[in-house]
């Protein structure tokens, strides 16, 4: 014991105890941030990595317990102890407390569930069959199956035993996928354009008829012309619809005959299959290729199966369009307000008060801006626009309901303080010498502003804009009030006139995450999509922020060297 007391009594540096405590605080903060990024990135990045699929032979009890056949295939997900006392059942579950391995077993329509979890007692054998295929389907998620043959539309068949079976299979699928895209183009673009025109004419017709009897001669002539054009359009519509139908019939013609792990034979139309691969035969290069392909599909496709499969293109696009619209609104207003505050207003207590208020507006909760957006933009302005310009469509609201335009304006209001503050800072950082030189050369105040101040503070303004974009892109709460939806049938900008649909509701990455995580009918199946979307959103926001930081540093350097 004397050793300890000797140690305590040794000469010491006072307060190292507290220094180390503060150091631990810093470590905790760093671990929080790095750990969070690491965790999200890891979970998001592994989503698309093709893993091996194992075939499990279940014991007799397990088959009865879970209502599963004797053999199933599955993707290993992880291990956790089995819940022994589920709240709904009074008896302890067999195997409760033991570690169970969780698998994604696919084939939802055959097994009734996409997931299974088994203890080591419940699995008799585990193999990695080489000829197992993963089929990504348009409905019911993935299927794990053994191919038997492909029945082609011309009556022929490709047997699974032929050496180039997978290549031929992929070619066939490719064809079908191309055709599906053609049908979509036909229906969305061509037929969409016709329907848009028809609807426009009908609305006009309704407007004329609403004027009541008697119809003036010019109106009667107009009505006749509308009638004529309508019949022409309907004829064209019929031609396209016929074409789409004949393509559709071709789609359903070829089938895949397959065997499930326990031996049951089944058949699926190739039209319902998106992609196939043999997971247990892939080498590293093929895995990387598959990974890139999955990532590409994720970024460019629309969601399927209540957002639990497919891609998130509409959400990315919606976020993009909204952020661009927001920037277009926030930049000029923010810069003008900052120029006024910094250059034109007489500096006094009033301006100082305004400056403090504007600065503090940046700290007002985003939901408050959402409330304002709903009350002012959507109901007040939007409702006004509807009753003035779209009265023939009422009571169906056009602008009197949430939409991408109102959402952008709401976020612009929310982020305008960020731009004002950044711009003011940048203006203050322009060396006084530059300004004086400009005046000395005889430039007016306006000329100085446009030629010297704005170019000089451009990096600062851009920093503010990027920060505003980062904040806007990541914000969800106000959007929930002003027009974001879980699934938008069409994009806010597309090939159907009038091309830019500012009144449309839209999808947003942040809201997509919220919706997938909390309102999905199949929360567990949605989990990989949630993490993939999360990585995307965090990358977007972090890249924007790092960009702003770099720009700011660049700006600082520039002015420390530039002064006279």
């Amino acid at each position: 014991m004397s050793g300890v007391s000797d140690f305590i009594a040794r000469p010491r540096t006072i307060g190292e105890t507290w220094v180390w405590l503060t150091g631990m605080g810093l470590v905790a903060a760093l671990v929080m941030i790095i750990g969070l990024f690491g965790f999200i990135c890891y979970r998001g990045v592994i989503v698309f990595w093709p893993t091996t699929i194992v075939e499990l032979e279940l014991s007799q009890e397990a088959q009865e317990r879970f209502g599963l056949p004797e053999k199933i295939a599955g993707r290993y997900l992880g291990e956790s102890p089995r819940v022994a006392w589920p709240s709904t059942v009074d008896e302890m579950r067999p195997g409760g407390g033991l570690p169970e391995k969780k698998y994604f077993i696919g084939n939802e329509e055959s097994y009734g569930s996409r997931f299974g979890a088994f203890t080591s007692d419940e699995v008799v054998a585990r193999t990695k069959p080489l000829n197992l295929l993963v089929a990504e389907r348009l409905e019911f998620g993935e299927a794990f199956l053994y191919p038997v043959e492909i029945k082609l539309s011309n009556g022929g068949a490709i047997s699974a035993d032929s050496p180039d079976f997978l290549t031929l299979f992929r070619e066939e699928l490719n064809q079908i996928n191309q055709r599906r895209k053609a049908i979509q183009r036909l229906e969305k673009v061509q037929i969409g354009q016709i329907s848009w025109r028809i609807e426009k004419l009908r609305t006009e017709e309704r407007g004329i008829r609403r004027k009541g009897e008697p119809v003036s001669s010019s109106d009667a002539a107009r009505l006749e012309r509308i009638e004529e054009e309508l019949s022409g359009l309907e004829n064209r519509y019929r031609v396209f619809a016929l074409e789409a139908r004949s393509l559709r019939e071709l789609q359903g013609a070829s089938h895949l005959v397959y065997r499930l792990p326990h031996g049951e034979l089944d058949e699926i139309s190739l039209d319902k299959v998106n992609r196939v691969y043999a997971p247990n035969r892939l080498n590293l290069w093929q895995k990387v290729r598959l990974y890139v392909e999955s990532l590409h599909l994720f970024l460019t496709e629309s969601p399927r199966e209540s957002n639990t499969a497919g891609g998130i293109f509409p959400a990315i696009f919606g976020t993009f369009v909204m952020t661009v619209l927001m920037s277009a609104a926030v930049l000029p207003f923010g810069v003008i307000a900052a120029l006024y505050l910094h250059e034109y207003a007489r500096q006094g207590p009033l301006v100082r008060l305004v400056r403090i208020s504007v600065l503090n507006l940046a700290g007002v909760p985003s939901i408050v801006f959402g409330v304002f957006g709903l009350g002012f933009f959507v109901y007040f302005i939007g409702g006004g626009i509807d009753s003035l310009f779209f009265s023939e469509r009422l009571p169906t609201a056009t602008f009197g309901t949430g939409g991408i335009f109102w959402a952008s304006l709401t976020l612009a209001l929310m982020t305008v303080p960020v731009v004002i503050v950044a711009t003011e800072e940048a203006l203050a950082a322009v060396p006084a010498g530059l300004r004086e030189a400009s005046y000395a050369c005889g430039a007016s105040k306006w000329q100085t502003t446009v030629r010297v101040l704005i170019p000089g503070s451009l990096p600062g303004i851009l920093t503010g804009l990027i920060l505003a974009m980062a904040r806007g892109a990541g914000e969800v709460a106000p959007l929930m009030l002003v027009g974001v939806v879980k699934l938008a049938p069409s994009l806010p900008i597309n090939l159907v006139p009038p091309f830019i649909h500012l009144d449309r509701k839209f999808m947003h990455l942040g809201f997509h995450i919220y919706d997938l995580g909390f309102q999905s009918p199949n929360a567990e199946a949605a989990l990989p999509m949630v993490f993939a979307s999360t990585v995307l959103l965090i990358l977007l926001v972090v890249v924007l922020n790092i960009g702003a930081i770099l720009l700011r540093n660049h700006l600082r350097r520039k002015y420390t060297t530039d002064t006279f």
């Binding site: 470590v27 207003a345 403090i356």
Partner: protein, 729 residues
């Protein structure tokens, strides 16, 4: 061009600030008193009619005369008043008309005991006007004895349940007669069985009934005696049973009573102006008892008349020519005024949009009434309110109710409480971390590393809160719920371990300490952190089995189980979405803000002060403790305020991980509902301009005021600090 900038700049700033004026402006109607407009009068002479009822379809009121004539009165220019005699033959001596809001049925009680069920309908007529029609649905007879007469009638009818009670002028047995009827319908709405049951009520000896009312659910009967005693009966399949008797007005003598809308809350009043409200409270043993909820007094001359509204829990108080509009739940007088006449009958118009009177000459006068939000007001939104069916007054948020039996409970207190609880939880966790990190990175760390620390931690602030909420709810919540003891030991072990290590380090000989020069302790701290976390995680099970032992009933063993222990110790369940998780994850949002402001405050303490302190022989901690922290105190405060401002308004994290239960509990293992999350949940479904909509705008205003106030204070503190530093330099 100057004007372009000036006008543009001013208008941008004004519109940004005007935003909040707009939000406040939307919340103002919640606090407005009722407004009564200029009256319109209809010159008729109606003397002592049986009843005056609210009209509809352009008719202001319906007056029922003793002879069974219905007069539909209208002040509108295009709608003429119409009189309809009942088609039923024979003399009518209507003594009472009982109505129900919702189904439009009227029950007419006749002196000789017949009860006529009629329905009024309105057929479209020329030029926007309507033609009223009266349809007789049914006629039944109360078993009134020969020579006796019906004094009053009260009925209840809803969901195939019907209760009809009559009061007869023969005292003693058979004074109160009733019929219970019920029909059972199949799922397609077709009536399958009907059940009818007649009874007469026996009052205790010497009690003479004055008023009889039938309560909601067709099973309660309330009787008020001439002496002012109240009897509460329940009927089932048999005869009514006495459940409760008491003197509602104490010893203040005879009284009157009426049910408020919904037929649950009872208003009892004396002619002298005293009104008490009683609400049925359900008993643990089953059944109900009446409990006094509110009391009020209305001054004036003449006996008090009380008229309940058919749409809300509002009521009219009339004494002489003085009239008051009272809202019973919040016990607030919404309006009072004097009429130019003494009314002989008073009534609310349709949807409480007017007040109707028959003046002493028998003329009909209608005052437009504007009182859309009687439930609100300061007391309704922030006060403790005794709601219907509650044992005592409380703060409650329960904004929607399917039927009019429930009234909206819109106390903002539970929501404010939720916001504050969430804020405190997050500050408890983030203040120590952020301030420690700020001190270390401002004063102790190696200069070359400092440039990296700040942007890294500030990057944390940019993580969208939806991501934090997601991780809190679907990853951290389930992970931690079984590992609370591990988290507790983590919180103790990590700081203790660091301090112990520092304690030892300070005593090592300089030869050893040279290996890790000052400012690079992170080399030791990072591995120490992970070692301590790992230990704490596994120590948790041990801590649980030692400190949180409970006797597990199903297995009959002593087990270490924190969740069980907590529910036994606190009496509250431990929830997966709780305040602790909110605290940790809101920390991600708050730590970088506090860090950034505090670090700036610590770093910009004038250099010469630090040098002076070191030169005088102080250690680096003594310098921080005696020079830096006192100097930067207002900066620390400002940093905490900024963090607080962020935490109050944070929406997505609390929306996703707090469980959103509007409860008033400090329990850290329970959830809460914050103002901001409540807006996100309920505003999209609120009717534009309605009570809920405006309450949400009020909530937004509160959030705005709170954050704006806190941020401004932080800003002033920071300005003060800067000035102080400037003087010293």
């Amino acid at each position: 061009m100057r004007w372009f900038i000036v006008v543009g700049g001013i208008s941008v700033i004004l519109s940004v600030l005007g935003l909040f004026v707009f939000i406040f402006w939307h919340a103002i109607p919640l606090f407005q008193k009722a407004r009564v407009g200029t009256p319109s009068e209809l010159g008729v002479s109606l003397v002592d009619p049986v009843a005056m009822l609210p009209g509809s379809y352009g008719f202001d009121a319906v007056v029922v005369q003793e002879n069974g004539a219905f007069q539909f009165l209208s002040c509108l220019p295009f709608q003429e008043s119409v009189t309809i005699e009942l088609a039923e033959s024979g003399p009518h001596e209507v003594v009472e008309v009982s109505t129900h809001q919702g189904d439009g049925y009227l029950y007419l009680g006749m002196r000789h005991g017949a009860v006529l069920t009629v329905r009024t309908a309105f057929l479209p007529h020329a030029q926007e006007s309507h033609q009223p029609v009266i349809e007789i649905l049914e006629s039944l007879q109360l078993p009134v004895a020969e020579g006796a007469a019906l004094l009053s009638l009260d009925t209840y009818h809803m969901d195939q349940q019907e209760l009809i009670i009559g009061l007869v002028d023969s005292p003693g047995e058979g004074q109160i007669l009733g019929i219970n009827r019920s029909a059972r319908a199949n799922p397609f709405g077709e009536v399958e069985t009907r059940d009818e049951h007649e009874w007469s009520l026996i009052l205790p000896d010497g009690v003479v009934a004055k008023t009889v009312l039938s309560g909601a659910d067709a099973r309660s009967i309330v009787v008020l005696s001439e002496q002012g005693e109240l009897f509460y009966f329940r009927t089932g399949s048999g005869s009514p049973e006495l459940r409760q008797r008491f003197f509602p007005m104490g010893d203040q003598g005879p009284a009157e009573m009426a049910f408020l809308n919904g037929r649950r809350t009872l208003a009892v009043w004396t002619p002298g102006g005293r009104v008490r409200f009683f609400t049925p409270v359900s008993l643990a043993a089953g059944g109900f008892k009446y409990v006094q909820s509110n009391e009020t007094f209305f001054e004036g001359t003449g006996p008090l008349q009380l008229v309940p509204a058919a749409d809300k829990r509002s009521l009219l108080l009339v004494r002489g020519n003085r009239v008051g509009l009272h809202y019973s739940t919040t016990n607030a007088l919404r309006w009072e005024g004097s009429l130019p006449f003494v009314p002989q009958k008073s009534q609310f118009g349709e949807l409480n949009q007017s007040i109707l009177f028959l003046n002493h000459e028998g003329s009909f006068v209608s005052y437009p009434l504007d009182d859309p939000f009687p439930e609100a007001g300061l007391r309704g939104l922030f006060g403790k309110v005794h709601y219907e069916g509650r044992e005592a007054s409380s703060y409650e948020w329960q904004s929607t109710g399917a039927s009019d039996r429930f009234e909206p409970k819109i106390s903002l207190i539970p929501l404010l409480f939720g916001s504050i609880k969430g804020t405190l939880c997050s500050l408890l966790i983030s203040i120590p971390i952020a301030l420690c990190a700020a001190v270390y990175s401002a004063q102790f760390i190696r200069r070359e590393w400092k440039a990296w620390i700040r942007p890294t931690i500030e990057l944390m602030a940019s993580i969208p809160s939806v991501i934090l909420g997601l991780l809190a709810a679907i990853w951290f919540g389930p992970l931690v719920v079984n590992k609370v003891p591990s988290m507790l030991s983590f919180m103790v072990l990590v700081p203790m371990g660091a301090m112990l290590a520092g304690f030892a380090w300070g005593r090592l000989s300089p030869v050893v300490r040279k290996w890790i020069p000052d400012g690079t302790e992170l080399f030791l701290l990072v591995p120490l952190f992970f070692a301590l976390s790992y230990t704490a995680w596994h120590l948790g099970d041990w801590v649980e089995s030692i400190f949180f032992r409970v006797y597990d009933l199903p297995t009959g063993e002593w087990v270490g189980d924190f969740a069980l222990w907590w529910s036994l110790a606190e009496g509250k369940q431990m929830e997966q979405r709780n305040s602790f998780i909110i605290g940790v994850f809101m920390g991600f949002a708050v730590v970088p803000l506090i860090f950034s402001v505090a670090e700036e405050a610590f770093s910009s303490v004038p250099r010469q002060l630090v040098s002076g302190s070191i030169a005088l022989g102080a250690s680096r901690w003594q310098t921080v403790r005696r020079v830096i922290i006192p100097m930067a105190a207002s900066g620390i405060l400002s940093a905490i305020m900024i963090g607080m401002g962020r935490a109050i308004g944070e929406t997505m994290i609390v929306l996703m991980a707090s469980g959103n239960t509007p409860i008033l509990e400090w329990n850290f293992m329970a959830g809460f509902r914050a103002l901001s999350a409540n807006i996100a949940i309920e505003l999209p479904e609120a009717t534009q301009g309605g009570l809920l909509y405006r309450s949400m705008f009020l909530g937004a205003s509160l959030l705005f005021v709170l954050t704006f106030f806190v941020n401004t204070l932080a800003d002033l503190l920071r300005g003060h600090l800067r000035k102080k530093y400037k003087v010293l330099e």
